[in-house]
């Protein structure tokens, strides 16, 4: 670190941004890893930055890591059908089929370009809104959060397959798995654990994601021996890269809608990861009448990736302004910044122009550099699909399993392994018999928020069975509107004669 600090400021910034982008990008490429894992690993090196001058470089490095990791996590989903993170699973639904059709560069460039542009656009918007965030924060209360989560939950009905009944079973299963562990009222009771202590913490989303998607896809790949992929030459790859970029422009309103959804869900501290991407994907499906999804529709990629990086800036605002992390990734990031002496959530930090400069430029340059580099390298990386899976599927499977087991520090090694095997079996069966895995995953992610929201609204407005106030629907119009939209969405989703997502 001393060697770096002896260099000029420009060189220091260049080194830190490069390290952040490379490190974050590489972690993002690892199936099932994602920004959360990338930031947790920073705990082992943060002490290096604990010297005068270096702490600001850590801000630059860490935020560049998060944004580049978010950009990079599309690769695994698109190229090998394994979500880089729970949110990136939405991109995989249409991205992987496109890769199989020989359009990996098309899918990747659209995903990366959309994520990067929205990251920059909403990044500027987000930083401009810093002075007004207090007002925004005071408008979004429990009722509004419940309303928005209800909308996201209702959107699940849109992503059901044409097998409505099977989709309903998948949604129910997702909700049922989400009920395992500590009860949502926070009163220290747990449920549905079958007296297995391990289940007290509930089922990890990482195990659900890998079990349902990653391992079944890798097993399928090994079974097939090779992808049935159309081989294309370099010239076509280049052409596809440009086509991907122009596709984003063509569907710019969908991209923008995804960005808005990601940004808003990112602002809400109670919702958790992955909601924005899935909600944006579902909204895209809902808005694209008569179109099939899940078989390589570029709109599906643009919609979900639109929410990817915009969600990060949405989550950054409450973290820096109030010290209220907008998600788990930012909770980790905040504790690292506090470790280095930054009073996150105070005026001290907001008035620290050096801190804000490093944060802003780390975010913007990290997004731009990673986006540019990833688009440039996408055509090369996408050639992985031409390599016989026998050479990479098994190592990739082992790496994925290792990532899952390492995430709990190997403390619950056997339990994690057993659950992973069980859920992989479920994943294989669901894929085979066309039970919607995305619907299960979304239900699993959203159900706890819905349940907590209902408990809170009941206590806030319907205490002791009495109607505390008749004005809730007028005082919180966002809740009212969201609930109406939710009912309509559910009705719409399940009355469609032909389910429009062809992916299980």
């Amino acid at each position: 670190m001393e060697l770096i600090l002896q260099q000029s400021v420009w060189i220091q910034w260049a080194i830190m941004l490069t390290l952040g982008c490379v490190y974050g990008g590489l972690i993002g490429l690892i199936p099932s890893a994602g920004p959360g894992k990338a930031v947790i690993l920073l705990y082992s090196i943060v002490a290096i930055f604990d010297t005068a001058g270096a702490e600001y470089l850590f801000i630059l490095f860490s935020i560049a890591t998060v944004v580049s990791c978010s950009v990079g996590d599309s690769f695994a989903g698109v190229l090998i059908g394994i979500p880089g993170a729970s949110g990136a699973a939405a991109t995989m639904v249409d991205g992987f089929p496109l890769a199989k059709q020989g359009k990996a560069s098309y899918a990747l460039s659209a995903a990366i370009f959309c994520s990067t542009v929205n990251g920059l656009l909403f990044g500027i918007l987000g930083f401009m809104l810093f002075p007004f965030y207090r007002e925004i924060g005071s408008v979004i209360g429990t009722a509004e959060i419940v309303g928005l989560v209800c909308c996201s939950f209702a959107l699940i009905s849109v992503v059901t397959t044409k097998h409505t009944f099977r989709s309903l079973i998948a949604i129910s299963l997702g909700c049922a798995i989400a009920t395992i562990g500590w009860a949502p009222d926070g009163m220290g009771d747990y449920r549905n654990t079958f007296d297995w202590e391990y289940l007290e913490d509930g089922v990890s989303i990482l195990i659900i994601g890998v079990g349902l998607f990653a391992l079944p896809e890798l097993i399928q790949t090994l079974k097939d021996k090779e992808f049935d992929i159309l081989y294309i030459d370099n010239k076509t790859h280049n052409k596809q890269t440009w086509q991907g970029i122009t596709a984003v422009w063509k569907h710019k309103w969908l991209a923008l809608m995804g960005g808005v959804i990601g940004w808003i869900t990112g602002l809400m501290p109670a919702t958790g990861g992955g909601i924005g991407d899935w909600a944006a994907y579902s909204a895209t499906v809902g808005l694209s009448k008569g179109e099939k999804f899940g078989n390589g529709n570029i709109k599906g990629i643009i919609g979900s990736e639109g929410a990817n990086n915009s969600g990060k800036i949405g989550a950054l605002l409450p973290t820096v302004m109030f010290g209220i992390p907008g998600g788990k990734v930012f909770a980790y990031l905040m504790s690292l910044w506090i470790y280095l002496g930054f009073d996150v959530g105070t005026d001290t930090v907001l008035q620290d122009t050096k801190f804000m400069d490093h944060l802003f430029w780390g975010y913007m340059l990290g997004t731009a550099i990673t986006g540019f580099v990833m688009i440039m390298t996408a055509r090369h990386l996408s050639k992985i699909v031409y390599i016989n899976p026998m050479y990479w599927a098994l190592p990739m499977m082992l790496l994925t399993i290792y990532t899952v087991l390492a995430s709990s520090g190997f403390i619950t090694l056997w339990e994690d392994t057993a659950l992973l095997i069980l859920l992989s079996f479920f994943g294989v069966m669901m894929k085979k018999y066309k039970f919607s895995r995305p619907a299960l995953l979304m239900a699993f992610i959203l159900f706890p928020s819905i349940e907590k929201g209902i408990i809170q609204l009941k206590d806030l407005y319907f205490y002791n069975g009495l109607y505390i106030t008749n004005d809730i629907w007028w005082e919180h119009p966002i809740l009212t509107i969201c609930l109406i939209i939710s009912i309509l969405l559910i009705f719409y989703g399940f009355t469609q004669k032909n389910g429009r997502i062809d992916y299980a």
Binding site: G188, Y198, P325, V344, G345
Partner: protein
């Protein structure tokens, strides 16, 4: 002569090598949890002095089962490992839950050092007729609600207090961590909440400055003289002080005893411990003593963690023993009754009185 020098050099080398150890400091939380942040700040300074004795520290986070896993691993897997240190957590949880402790009992271990910390209660200045108060953290926030209840109801028997408790506030459950609770307070959904000193000056700064919120009281810090004023924010009265002003008498009775005991347990819960007869005890304690005598380190820690009192070694052991031994069956039964009235499925740990 040469042989003597060689022997001295070998002895010195062996001694140094044997003394240089890497300790694993188990934190029963995820890296972003409150006690994890405390541990991170403490180890940042402490490790400097530990290094002088040739040792190093490595933090290991075990968030599983709300920290219970860390405790049981310490009691079983690391039973004979002198290089493992455990951060205390959930002493109230230990006393009020019956299952799965696998031989863990905080009274069996040797505390090295700890810091007594405090918590503040905040309230909106303009409270509605029946204000909403959060108790979403379960084990963590029931005691905060108890303080608020007593402040409104005065001295009463437990049964009468439970009735008053029902009629005083609406208790809002289901907050997903302190972040969403803070957001709920700022948005006005809950009008009474609790938080640590660090957040008073950050998250709620504007609310307090504009007069929308007030720091109602601090629960106080456990001491030989009962609960005393919190040193981190002098302007906030402690619970006993404000109660006495409001009710013209000191707080008393079984409900207060249960409240006070839980505050004492929470106030002294940030300490670290090792197994008995740990060969490195003197090194660990000595390096801590060097740290608290170092002005630079203490300045940093006071800024980050608050100017709360530290305790160590025999003194800390005695404080903890006194607190544990003062918990009798009746008191724990009252604690159970009160906690159950808030909706917690509390069951007294049968092993506590063995």
């Amino acid at each position: 002569m040469n042989k003597t020098i060689l022997a001295v050099m070998i002895t010195a080398f062996l001694t140094t090598t044997a003394a240089a150890e890497q300790f694993t400091y188990i934190v029963p939380s995820s890296p972003d949890g409150g006690i994890a942040k405390h541990a991170q700040q403490v180890t940042k300074e402490w490790s400097k002095f530990l290094a002088k004795k040739g040792h190093s520290l490595n933090l290991r986070y075990m968030k599983q089962q709300k920290g219970k896993k860390a405790a049981t691993e310490f009691a079983t897997t690391y039973k004979d490992n002198p290089l493992v240190i455990l951060q205390s957590k959930g002493i109230i949880m230990f006393m009020t839950s019956n299952k799965g402790w696998k031989g863990y009992d905080p009274r069996n271990y040797v505390p090295i050092f700890g810091q007594k910390t405090g918590v503040f209660m905040l309230a909106k200045s303009d409270l509605p007729k029946k204000p909403a108060i959060n108790i979403g953290g379960g084990a963590e926030t029931i005691v905060d609600a108890m303080g608020a209840v007593m402040m409104e109801c005065g001295n009463m028997s437990v049964s009468k207090m439970l009735d008053c408790q029902k009629d005083t506030y609406r208790y809002i459950k289901g907050w997903q961590g302190s972040g969403s609770r803070r957001k709920g307070y700022l948005a006005g959904d809950i009008q009474i909440t609790r938080d640590a000193f660090k957040n008073i000056g950050s998250t709620y700064k504007d609310e307090i400055k504009s007069g929308k919120s007030v720091v109602w009281f601090s629960h106080g810090i456990a001491s030989a003289n009962g609960l005393v004023d919190d040193p981190s924010i002098n302007s906030a009265p402690s619970f006993p002080t404000l109660f006495t002003v409001n009710w013209k008498e000191a707080p008393k009775g079984a409900y207060y005893n249960a409240y006070k005991k839980m505050i004492e347990l929470r106030s002294t819960s940030k300490y670290i411990m090792v197994h008995q007869k740990n060969p490195y005890y003197e090194d660990l304690l000595g390096s801590f003593n060097e740290m608290i005598n170092d002005k630079e380190s203490m300045k940093k820690l006071n800024k980050k963690l608050g100017a709360y009192p530290w305790a160590s070694g025999v003194e800390l052991k005695k404080t903890l023993d006194d607190i544990y031994s003062s918990v009798d069956k009746k008191l724990l039964k009252d604690i159970q009754t009160i906690r159950q009235s808030f909706g917690e499925k509390t069951k007294i740990n049968r092993n506590f009185f063995k």
